[in-house]
Symmetry: C2
Subunit: 410 residues, 2 copies
DNA sequence: AGATTTAATCCGCATTGTTTATTAAACAAG
DNA sequence: CTTGTTTAATAAACAATGCGGATTAAATCT
């Protein structure tokens, strides 16, 4: 069940739709037999045979040797099918203010290599950033034992407002400029390997959907508390992208700070950046000051929170209240069964998550009191990049909706 | 371009999709010739001929006599096609706290009859409300010169949280109870005529899309300020319904009241109900008091606002600020090209709309400063009911997505 | 009256999915 | 070892669809 950007229907579209369903079943449940695909997709066995036949011809899938577990003891054994890991390779990139993460995966989204470049990108001109990203990509490809010709696509995730289809970053804390055509910038550098860009949260949202906390869930929200704040929306199994393919930026939401007057942007109340800034002020001149100068501010904060430092606890309490305010409103709007929170700041544990939960519980209307489960998910660095890879793979799988990506067949 | 709840594709679905596109083109642009349908849908002339042939057989469309305007002076004239008004009849109902509006339309959503029952529904038991609605429907059908057997469907719009697919109203100011299975309640009363329910704002949102301010716009928001507050979201040409087909209730959003501490639910800050209550308090004991007792409170308020009564202007200023806060956040999330405001309170004009615009402008992030046009639309009473009728017609047209409705064919 | 132009339809074809039969590949029983 | 049974996978026949090219229909122009 996937929403489709509607075109007029012809036999080709029909085949594309069904091929995608088969591919999706194999990705999600492989190794899987033809009969089971037939069960799951509601397609006839004949059709599944035809489609898997074509996929085998195209080397997009392979038969799994050493036959699967027999369902029944008798009868012809099922031939298990799975994605051909070598069918394609993709690279995912995650840009953050303080580092670049790059990951190369195969067609199954298995990590082949990953690397982190701890570089402060802020204020660098676009061309310099593109150069750095290019270097990282080329290095990661080499680390994976591949050449760039073998790579089918690259996807870059970055914070801010991104128009994926146009390949333009409308606004990002990373770029000084507006409307940066970063996808084109990269594609030319990479000898024509297709590069796309997307909001970083969208990537991690897809990652959660494919191989994370939300596998099999078609509706959920992801809220990332990094240096900036991000919101990813999965609705009916598809990423929700705002009206023009823009990605909503959670930091731009207005919230009411608890016990305060007026209102502020959420980014100023509860982002990692704002927490750091405020903590630095609180602890100014103290023994901890130099930790901040070394970029270890968040670690220090977590340490002090664990130690029960009251001013830090109060700070986290207020940040949590603001986040809770925003989350309560989001639940009111989307009524998602699950809300996934993540980010370095959440390592603070109950000191931050407690206030969030309490505020949400307090502000939610009674009718929505129990619809949403709020969970905290700790991501490893390369989950982001793996999500970027997944985004590219989704195109390669040939989803007939989202006219964005080229379809690989034949 | 319409999102589709994906099924596995077979020839039947293919035809259903294309038939819907043809029907949609005829509805939107009819009277329209086959060639123009072919142009607009990108379907081949042959296919259009085949589909329109079937539709003519089924009497869903008719040929428009007195040939249309010739595109070119020469050649065989085009035969214009249009919906057959008599193909089906539907009834739309709008429940508000103080009145029931009923409208009967034909297959083209032309109004055949409409009536208003000014009855306070609040606190009435469900069965009484259902009785009243039944009476209204039967009367409206009779007024239209029809019998109930000729009616293909009924749709009821009501404020609150509605689960359309289940036909259950989860919560509404109209019902004392929760989880009212109102659709079933009505269907049994109406000798089996299929009744559905939906959020009232969704209906008016569809109405705006079909024949209102947002014709041809695939992304916009509708915010209705009635006794309660409603939010309708059109995204990619489809109504957005929250995760479980629930409809978001704008009144449940939390906002910051300007110049105030803490936060409140928007319903308590800017609904017609809250405005009335506060005005009544302000004017308590004064010469205007009895107007409120007569249910003419809003008229009085508008009058005083026009006259420049400072306490009323201040009240509207604050309500507008709260609405602006919520709207700014919604624009941040959805980035819709258009936001449509409506409701009795908006008759106050600039006294309310001014603060809304100012607050939105103040709170929107710069990157989204100019994406949304905010317009005020004054609805006549039966627009709502006509929207309800349109909702039923959409099912009859046979949209292959939204498995909800039965498809009429053959 | 015949030529011209445009609309609509007819015919043949390729593609698709489905149903029904057939073959393939295993195990079980004699 | 052969034969029967069971399940998986494929093949053959069939019906529905959309499309392109040829054909017919219905008007105007010369």
């Amino acid at each position: 069940m996937v929403p489709l950007q509607m075109k007029t229907a012809d036999p080709e579209l029909m085949r594309a739709i069904n091929r995608f369903h088969v591919m999706d079943a194999i990705r999600r449940f492989g190794p899987i037999s033809r009969v089971e695909i037939s069960d799951r997709t509601q397609l006839s066995a004949t059709t599944v045979s035809a489609i898997t036949g074509a996929l085998l011809d195209d080397q997009l899938i392979i038969t799994h040797q050493l036959g699967g577990i027999r369902d029944a003891a008798r009868g012809r054994p099922r031939v298990m099918l799975e994605l051909n890991p070598a069918a394609a390779y993709v690279v995912g990139v995650k840009l953050a203010l303080d580092q670049i993460t790059v990951a190369t995966t195969n067609f199954r989204a298995d990590l082949l290599s990953s690397l982190v470049l701890p570089i402060r990108l802020q204020r660098q001109p676009v061309s310099v950033i593109a150069d750095l990203v290019e270097d990282g990509i080329r290095r990661s490809i080499a680390d994976a034992g591949l050449t760039i010709e073998q790579v089918s696509g690259v996807c870059v995730g970055l914070p801010g407002v991104v128009e994926r289809i146009a390949g333009v970053c409308r606004a990002s804390p990373i770029f000084g400029e507006r409307d940066v055509p970063f996808a084109a910038e990269l594609t030319t550098r990479l000898s024509g390997v297709a590069a796309t860009i997307d909001s970083d949260v969208n990537l991690v949202t897809l990652a959660e959907h494919w191989f994370g906390e939300a596998r099999g869930l078609d509706d959920f929200l992801v809220i990332s508390v990094e240096l900036g704040l991000g919101l990813g929306i999965m609705h009916n199994g598809e990423l929700f992208r705002g009206a023009n393919g823009l990605s909503p930026d959670l930091g731009d939401l207005m919230v009411r700070p608890p016990n305060g007057n007026g209102s502020t942007r959420l980014a100023e109340a509860a982002s990692e950046a704002s927490i750091l800034a405020e903590a630095q002020e609180i602890l100014a001149g103290g023994e901890h000051a130099h930790a901040f100068r070394l970029g270890r501010g968040m670690e220090k904060i977590l340490q002090l929170a664990a130690g029960g430092e009251p001013r830090i606890l109060d700070l986290l309490e207020r940040a949590g209240g603001s986040l809770g305010f925003a989350i309560a409103n989001l639940i009111t709007l989307f009524a998602p069964p699950k809300v996934i929170l993540a980010g370095a700041a959440l390592e603070a544990g109950e000191a931050l998550v407690g206030p969030i939960r309490r505020t949400v519980a307090e502000l939610l209307p009674p009718s929505l009191a129990d619809v949403s489960e709020i969970v905290v998910h700790h991501w490893s660095d390369d989950i982001w990049a793996r999500g970027a890879a997944a985004m590219t793979l989704r195109d390669l799988y040939g989803a007939p909706w989202n006219t964005t990506g080229p379809v690989v067949h034949r």
